[in-house]
C-alpha cells in the first residue's frame, strides 16, 4: 500500500516536470546570419546569436558583436567557437578580457538550462532518498543503506553544481557591453554633465543603477559614471525587451 503511494508520488513528479521541461524548449526559426537584423519576437538560440555576432564582427561593429557573443555564451558556455570569436573580437578592439578561474570554467562548462534541470533532479533525488530511507523499514530493497546514501550524495552534488552555476552567472545578469566607441561616462545623469572618462567600444561594464535615460556603470577598473542608455547593450535584456 505504501509502496503504491510512493510510486504515485513519482508519477506525479514526472507529470509535473515533463511538461515544464518540454515547455522550456521550443522550436525556433533559423536565423539569417548574413544580415545583422534583430528578430521581431525575442527568440534566442546560441547558434543564431553566434551567427549574428559574426555578421556584426564582419561589418566592423565590435560592440554589437561582443554583445551577441556574450549572449550566445550565456546559452552555450562551452562552445569553443563562441569563446574563440569573442576573445578574438575583443582583442581586435583592444579591449582587455578578464581571465576566468579554472573552477569557474569547470562550473560554467554546462549550460545554465542544463544546470537548472540538474538542480531540480538533484533536489528530487535527495528528497526521494530521504523518503525512501524513511520507508526503508518496510522496503526490503532499501534496507541495505548504501543505495539511499549514494543517491543522497549524488543529489547534493547536483544541487551544489546548479547553485554554483547560478552564483557565478548572477553578476552577468547586470553586465552590459558598450556599443559606441568613445562613449562618454558622465559625472551626472544629464546630457550636459561633465565627462568623467570615455569607454571603448566592446568594453564590458556592470550596471549598478539607472536614472531616466542614463545608467550608472562600473568598469572593470572600478571607475563609475553615467552612460546614456543607448550606448549600452545589456547582456541579458529585460523581459519583453530585446
Amino acid at each position: 500500500m505504501r509502496a503504491r503511494g510512493i510510486s504515485m508520488l513519482f508519477a506525479a513528479l514526472a507529470l509535473w516536470v515533463g511538461p515544464a521541461f518540454a515547455q522550456s524548449l521550443q522550436p525556433s526559426q533559423p536565423s539569417q546570419p548574413s544580415q545583422p537584423s534583430q528578430p521581431s519576437q525575442p527568440s534566442y538560440s546560441a547558434d543564431g546569436l553566434y551567427n549574428l555576432a559574426n555578421s556584426y564582427a564582419r561589418a566592423g561593429k565590435p560592440g554589437l558583436a561582443v554583445l551577441n557573443y556574450e549572449r550566445a555564451a550565456l546559452l552555450a558556455p562551452g562552445d569553443p567557437d563562441i569563446n574563440a570569436n569573442l576573445a578574438y573580437v575583443r582583442a581586435s578592439a583592444h579591449v582587455p578580457m578578464q581571465p576566468r578561474s579554472r573552477l569557474a570554467g569547470l562550473v560554467q562548462a554546462i549550460s545554465p538550462t542544463l544546470a537548472a534541470w540538474l538542480g531540480v533532479l538533484g533536489l528530487a533525488v535527495v528528497g526521494m532518498a530521504l523518503v525512501s530511507a524513511r520507508a526503508a523499514s518496510r522496503l526490503r530493497w532499501l534496507r541495505g543503506g548504501w543505495i539511499p546514501g549514494c543517491a543522497m550524495l549524488l543529489g547534493v552534488a547536483l544541487i551544489a553544481l546548479s547553485a554554483s552555476n547560478a552564483m557565478l552567472l548572477w553578476p552577468r545578469m547586470h553586465e552590459a557591453v558598450v556599443l559606441i566607441d568613445q562613449a562618454p561616462a558622465r559625472v551626472a545623469p544629464v546630457p550636459m554633465g561633465d565627462t568623467a572618462f570615455v569607454l571603448r567600444e566592446a568594453e564590458s561594464v556592470t550596471m549598478t543603477a539607472q536614472h531616466e535615460d542614463f545608467i550608472l556603470i562600473r568598469t572593470g577598473a572600478g571607475l563609475t559614471g553615467w552612460v546614456a542608455r543607448a550606448s549600452l547593450g545589456a547582456v541579458v535584456p529585460p523581459a519583453g525587451n530585446d
Partner: protein, 588 residues
C-alpha cells in the same frame, strides 16, 4: 585809557577776519606730490605735502589697497616761478597691496587729488616715449674678394665662389655669386647671373638674392648674393665664370675729352655732365678652375642611381599594427648632403604576403640651394594575411666623395603585427575551423531557441517547480512515517508462525525461547519499559492470574535453555493459545 582799550579791541575785531583770511590763504598754499607716480608691486612711493604756511597735521586717508605710513616732516625751500620760498614738508610712505590705479584725495584743504599707478611686473610704461625703430647698424667695410676687380667704371663687380677642391661627376656642390653695385650709378640689374659653360648644371637662382651693404674701396656698394648648386655632367678640367647684365650711368665722353672738360670752366663743364647716360652692359667674373673627376666603375652597386654625397638612411612604418587588408605606409628617410635630385629608390617592387604600390617621394631642404636636407620615400603596403610579419630592410647605394668609394646604407627590418580582418571572415559553414583571418565560421541554423535569456533558475515560473517538488517530497516524507502498531502486528504474526512451526517439529527449546522473547518484546512495547525489567511480580501485578501463567512459561523457557530433556508441561497448544491471546490483545 578806556578809549584806548576800546580802540585796541575794535582794531583786533577788525583784524580778526583778515587774520583768519590770511591763515586760510596760507593753508591754501599747499600742494601734494607722489614720487614716483608709477611703481611696481612691492615697492613704495613717497607722498610729499608741501606747504608755504603753517602746516597742520594731516589725517591719513583710508584707501583700500594702499598703506600710508608717516615718515616725518621737514623744512626747506621750494622754487616757485624761479623764486626760492621757504616751505614745510610732510613725507608719507605709500605702500600698495595690489596692482591697480589709485586715486589719493587731497590731504590739505583745496588741494587736488593725485594718482598712483601700481603694476605687477615690468610692463612698459605707456607714458614713456620710446623710439621703436632700432638704430641702423653701421655699414661694414669689406675688401674685394681675391682676384676680383671693379668693372663698369668702378661701379660694379661680380664674383663666382666655387669649391677649391676637385669634384665628381654628378656631385652637387654649393656655389655663390656675388654682384656688387654702386647705388645711383648702377641703375638696375637686368637679369639673373648666368654660368658660362655647358658642361655643368646650375640650379635655379632665386629672384630675391641676399642683399647687404658694404663699403668697398671707399665707396658704398650693395652686394647681391645668389646661392646655387652646381653639378658637372662629365669629367675634365673646366674654367668657370659667370656674368650679369646691368644698366650703368656712364659718361659718353672719352677719357681725353673728360680731361679737357675738367680743365674748362663752367658752362663748358656742363657738357661733361650732359655726356652721362644710362648704358646696358654685362659684367663677367674672372674664370675659376674646376677639376671634375669621373665616378669609379669598380665596385659600383647594381642599384646605384647616381647619388653622390654623404647620406644617412632610416625607415619607419605607420601604423605599427593594422588589420589585414588595411593599408600602412612604409617610409624610407634619406638625409644628409648631396645631389638629392639623383637620390632615388623604388622601395619594394614585390613583397611576399604584401600588396605593394608605387612609392612617392618628397624632399625637404634645410639650406637655400637644396644640397642638404631629407628626402622621404613613402610606399603604401597592404598585408594579405594576419600575424606578425617582418618587412625586410631597404638598401640605398651612393658614392661618398669624402671616402671616395661607393657605400651601401641599409635599414633594419621592421616587424609589424597584422590583425585579422574583421570584414573578411569566411562563410564556409564548416564548424570548428579557424578561418585564415581569425574569425571562426558560422554555425548551422539552430534547432531550438528560448524566449528569455535569463537562466531558468532566475525565472519565477521555473522556481515554482523545485519549490513544489520540495513540498511534495516533504509531504511524502511525512506520509511514510512508520506506524508502530502495524509493525508490532506484523512482528506478532511472524512470531506466531515461528511458534507453530516449532510446535509441529517438537522443538521445545526453540518454542519456549521464542515465546519468551516475543512476549517480553510485546510487553516492553506495551508498557514502555525495558524488557529486562519485566519480572514475575510485574506480570502478576499487571496481568493477574494470566501473569502467573506467563511467569510459569518463562520458568519453563529457562529450564529448557539449560536442560536437554523436555520440560514438564510442554503442552504446546495450551501455551500457543495463551501467547496468541496476549499478542492479539496487544494488537487490538
Amino acid at each position: 585809557m578806556r578809549r584806548q582799550i576800546k580802540l585796541i579791541i575794535a582794531s583786533l575785531c577788525l583784524l580778526a577776519p583778515v587774520a583768519q583770511a590770511m591763515a586760510q590763504a596760507l593753508d591754501a598754499l599747499s600742494y601734494e606730490t607722489v614720487e614716483p607716480p608709477r611703481i611696481k608691486l612691492g615697492e613704495s612711493a613717497t607722498l610729499r605735502i608741501t606747504s608755504f604756511g603753517r602746516l597742520k597735521d594731516v589725517a591719513l586717508p583710508t584707501i583700500p589697497g594702499l598703506v600710508f605710513e608717516p615718515i616725518g616732516r621737514s623744512q626747506g625751500f621750494d622754487f616757485v616761478n624761479g623764486t626760492m620760498i621757504p616751505a614745510n614738508f610732510i613725507l608719507i610712505r605709500v605702500t600698495p597691496q595690489f596692482a591697480g590705479v589709485f586715486t589719493i584725495p587731497g590731504l590739505t584743504p583745496n588741494s587736488g587729488s593725485i594718482g598712483l599707478e601700481v603694476v605687477k611686473g615690468d610692463e612698459p610704461d605707456p607714458y614713456t616715449w620710446r623710439n621703436q625703430q632700432p638704430a641702423p647698424a653701421p655699414v661694414p667695410t669689406a675688401t674685394l674678394p681675391k682676384g676680383v676687380q671693379l668693372q663698369a667704371g668702378g661701379a660694379a663687380f661680380i664674383h663666382l665662389a666655387i669649391p677649391a677642391h676637385s669634384i665628381y661627376v654628378g656631385e652637387s656642390v654649393p656655389v655663390e655669386i656675388d654682384v656688387g653695385i654702386r647705388p645711383g650709378i648702377v641703375t638696375s640689374v637686368n637679369g639673373l647671373p648666368t654660368l658660362k659653360g655647358s658642361d655643368f648644371t646650375f640650379s635655379n637662382l632665386s629672384t630675391k638674392p641676399e642683399r647687404r651693404e658694404q663699403i668697398i674701396e671707399g665707396g658704398n656698394f650693395v652686394v647681391l648674393t645668389w646661392h646655387s648648386a652646381l653639378a658637372a655632367v662629365k669629367p675634365g678640367d673646366f674654367s668657370l665664370s659667370t656674368e650679369a647684365p646691368l644698366t650703368v650711368k656712364m659718361s659718353a665722353l672719352s677719357s681725353a675729352d673728360r680731361a679737357i672738360a675738367s680743365r674748362l670752366a663752367w658752362p663748358l663743364l656742363q657738357s661733361m655732365y650732359n655726356g652721362v647716360a644710362p648704358r646696358d652692359m654685362t659684367i663677367e667674373s674672372s674664370p675659376s678652375k674646376l677639376t671634375v673627376l669621373p665616378l669609379p666603375t669598380e665596385g659600383q652597386p647594381g642599384n646605384f642611381s647616381g647619388a653622390v654625397g654623404d647620406f644617412r638612411v632610416s625607415s619607419d612604418i605607420s601604423p605599427a599594427s593594422v588589420a589585414a587588408g588595411e593599408p600602412l605606409t612604409l617610409r624610407l628617410h634619406i638625409s644628409g648632403a648631396g645631389n638629392f635630385d639623383r637620390v632615388d629608390s623604388t622601395m619594394f617592387d614585390h613583397l611576399d604576403h604584401w600588396k605593394t604600390y608605387p612609392a612617392k617621394s618628397s624632399f625637404t631642404p634645410v639650406d637655400a640651394v637644396g644640397t642638404e636636407g631629407e628626402k622621404v620615400f613613402e610606399q603604401p603596403l597592404i598585408a594579405a594575411q594576419p600575424g606578425e610579419q617582418t618587412i625586410p630592410g631597404l638598401e640605398f647605394s651612393y658614392f661618398n666623395p669624402n671616402t671616395r668609394r661607393y657605400e651601401r646604407a641599409q635599414t633594419p627590418p621592421i616587424k609589424v603585427t597584422i590583425a585579422a580582418s574583421l570584414a573578411s571572415g569566411t562563410f564556409n559553414g564548416a564548424t570548428g575551423m579557424q578561418s585564415p583571418l581569425g574569425l571562426r565560421p558560422d554555425h548551422r541554423p539552430a534547432q531550438y531557441s528560448v524566449g528569455d535569456l535569463r537562466p531558468l533558475y532566475f525565472r519565477v515560473s521555473f522556481l515554482a517547480l523545485p519549490t513544489t517538488l520540495a513540498l511534495l517530497l516533504a509531504a511524502g516524507w511525512f506520509a511514510v512515517r512508520p506506524d508502530p502498531a502495524r509493525a508490532n502486528l506484523k512482528a506478532a504474526r511472524r512470531a506466531l508462525a515461528q511458534l507453530d512451526a516449532a510446535a509441529r517439529a517438537g522443538d521445545f527449546m526453540s518454542f519456549f525461547e521464542t515465546a519468551r522473547h516475543v512476549l517480553l518484546q510485546a510487553f516492553a512495547a506495551r508498557w514502555q519499559i525495558p524488557a529486562d525489567q519485566i519480572t514475575g511480580a510485574e506480570l502478576k501485578a499487571r496481568l493477574g492470574t494470566t501473569g502467573e501463567e506467563l511467569e510459569r512459561l518463562f520458568a519453563i523457557a529457562e529450564e529448557a535453555r539449560y536442560s536437554d530433556h523436555p520440560p514438564g508441561g510442554a503442552d504446546f497448544q495450551r501455551w500457543l493459545r495463551l501467547i496468541r491471546g496476549q499478542l492479539a490483545g496487544e494488537s487490538r
